[in-house]
Amino acid sequence: MNLFRSRGQRRRATLLGLLSVPTIFLAVFFLGPLTIMLVYSFLEPGLYGGVVWRFFDLNYGQILGWADTKYERFDPVYIRIFLHSVQLAAVTVILSLIVCYPAAFWVSRLPETQKNLFLFLITLPFFVSLIVRLFAWVLILRPTGFLNQALMGIGLIGEPLEIIYTDTAVIIAMVYVFIPFMFLPLYASVEKLDMSLIEASADLGATRFQTFRRIVLPMTLPGIVGGSIIVFIPSLGNFIVPSLLGGAKVVMIGNLIEQQFLSARNWPFGSALAMMVMAAILLLLLYYVRLASREAENAPAVKEAA
């Protein structure tokens, strides 16, 4: 009895030893900053960049529509930029899905050694610096860049195409950068796909489209949804890609936030914009969790197995 109690105490002491320092660190330097940002988004911006410690809801009012005073006015441009960012992020998700889906099938059907090689090759870009990979696309898409030189060299175009500093350039670069994020979750569910089900479906007379829609798509859905979320989140809040490849012409919500902090010096308004991004992502995740739990209810056999 005595032994048991002392072991319980020892375990508690070990647990405390493991958790105490990380907990204090994260409470102060992670939860602390997030709380302060939330508080800031409800404070009044000072005249010269600081804040006035008074409750103020017009930071959100300027974005969402109820600010109508001398200094703070509702401006639909913020909502427009926000929606445009959502749109760019959504297009990035869809394109990277289209690009990765067939490739995931291809890699999953390769012999073991080749498979490992290509899986290594797809993870390698993740280790390559983001800024280096974006720089490559600046070199390719510039008016004097590789693509234009090549196209003019073979006489396909007479003068350089204006690709850089457009939505297209931003989307291309985001798709390129986030391909590994989309590929790996997709691959995980494609690899689990049972080929005999596809054969059975074909044998029973289903067309290829029917097989895809009824068998392949539902069974790879977890990978599709997972990859989409992992790509959507960093795309939505991105400001590096639009600032390098979108120039002054493509402004995403991330650029707007950056401006509030580093040039406009309206920190409360910037915080409110950042909270909008967080809110959008949390809504998306809530929707995903609800969807996933409904799925689990519909498939009791799977639930039991788990």
């Binding site: 072991r7 020892r10 070990t14 647990l15 030893g17 493991l18 958790l19 320092v21 990380p22 660190f25 994260l26 330097f29 992670f30 900053p33 997030l34 302060i36 940002m37 800031y40 990765c100 067939p102 490739a103 099938f105 291809w106 890699v107 290594f120 090759l121 797809i122 390698l124 870009p125 280790f127 390559v128 610096s129 983001l130 800024i131 280096v132 990979r133 720089f135 490559a136 600046v138 070199l139 390719i140 860049g145 590789f146 390129y176 989140i233 960093p234 939505l236 809040g237 400001f239 590096i240 390098l244 991330g254 950056e258 902090f261 910037g270 915080s271 950042a274 991004v277 967080m278 992502i281």
Partner: protein, 280 residues
């Protein structure tokens, strides 16, 4: 009829592998382009081949003075060196701290039963779903409103807040396929918690810990967004330095810097792969 279907299938597979090669070409062509053109002698248009040169490498190592314009542009290689030094310092300290934190939390959550388990899982999940820019500005507001001067220390603190989660995830995955009974046996034989952890748990999860540390190191070296907000004037890291260079204009030396960084990444990735292969 059977052969007909087989042919169709073969054609489909062929089409798919052609696509597969295109896919990998799309991933690697831009990177190769940088490497090739880092040796291009043309100082005006980097994309028109004019001959082979090591000039850009010599410029960044401070060996060449003849390219005065370019030399002025980097201002001095000293800035570049100090950015590299800062990046390495930050990454090393961050890796050490976040590996210890992440491993400790992972072991605690997997091996102990306590009331706040769900809270810790959520806490470790949060940085993963948060866009970098949100954490970056939150840390900026936090440090500035507390009157903390932005420096390498603030960067290190910032990196540790989210890299702890990455280590946690990697180590947790490793613990998940580990046998718990060995630890119980150790405890039954009278070892205290610390001894069991050091002699039994740690050696078993070590591959996960190393994997997590490597990941933390790479992400810390590469982080641009969070560092961008919380770096002081004299504490620029390499990605922030290059970002600044790119915003001022494209110069051929960047090709050379990027190629060296590429080489570095491939070495680190290969070490990781080697360790993972040896584990099996």
């Amino acid at each position: 009829m059977m052969t007909g279907r087989l042919l169709k299938l073969l054609r489909w597979v062929n089409g798919l592998s052609i696509y597969g090669y295109f896919f990998f070409a799309f991933i690697y062509a831009p990177i190769l382009l940088i490497v090739v053109f880092s040796f291009n002698a043309n100082p005006v248009n980097m994309m028109i081949w004019e001959g082979f040169t090591f000039d850009w490498y010599r410029t960044i190592f401070g060996l060449s003075n003849k390219l005065t314009e370019s030399a002025l542009y980097i201002e001095s290689s000293d800035q570049l060196y100090s950015a590299v030094k800062n990046s390495l310092l930050v990454a090393l300290i961050t890796t050490a701290v976040s590996t210890v934190f992440g491993t400790a939390v992972a072991v605690a959550v997997a091996r102990f039963r306590f009331r706040l388990q769900g809270f810790y899982r959520a806490l470790m999940f949060l940085p993963m779903i948060m866009p970098d820019i949100v954490l970056g500005i939150a840390l900026l507001i936090f440090f500035v409103s507390l009157g903390v001067k932005l420096s390498l220390l603030t960067i290190i603190i910032g990196h540790c807040t989210f890299l702890t989660s990455y280590v946690f995830v990697v180590v947790s995955a490793r613990i998940a396929d580990m046998d718990e009974s060995l630890e119980e046996a150790s405890a039954d034989l009278g070892a205290d918690g610390w001894t069991t952890f050091r002699r039994v748990t740690l050696p078993m999860i070590l591959p996960g810990v190393i994997g997590g540390a490597l990941l933390a190191f790479i992400i810390s070296m590469d982080d641009l967004v969070i560092t961008y907000f919380i770096a002081g004037v004299d504490s620029t890291t390499l990605p922030v330095f290059i970002y600044g260079m790119l915003r001022r204009g494209i110069k051929p030396e960047i090709n050379a810097i990027a190629t060296i960084m590429l080489l570095f990444s491939i070495v680190i990735a290969s070490i990781g792969l080697y360790l993972r292969a040896r584990k099996k």
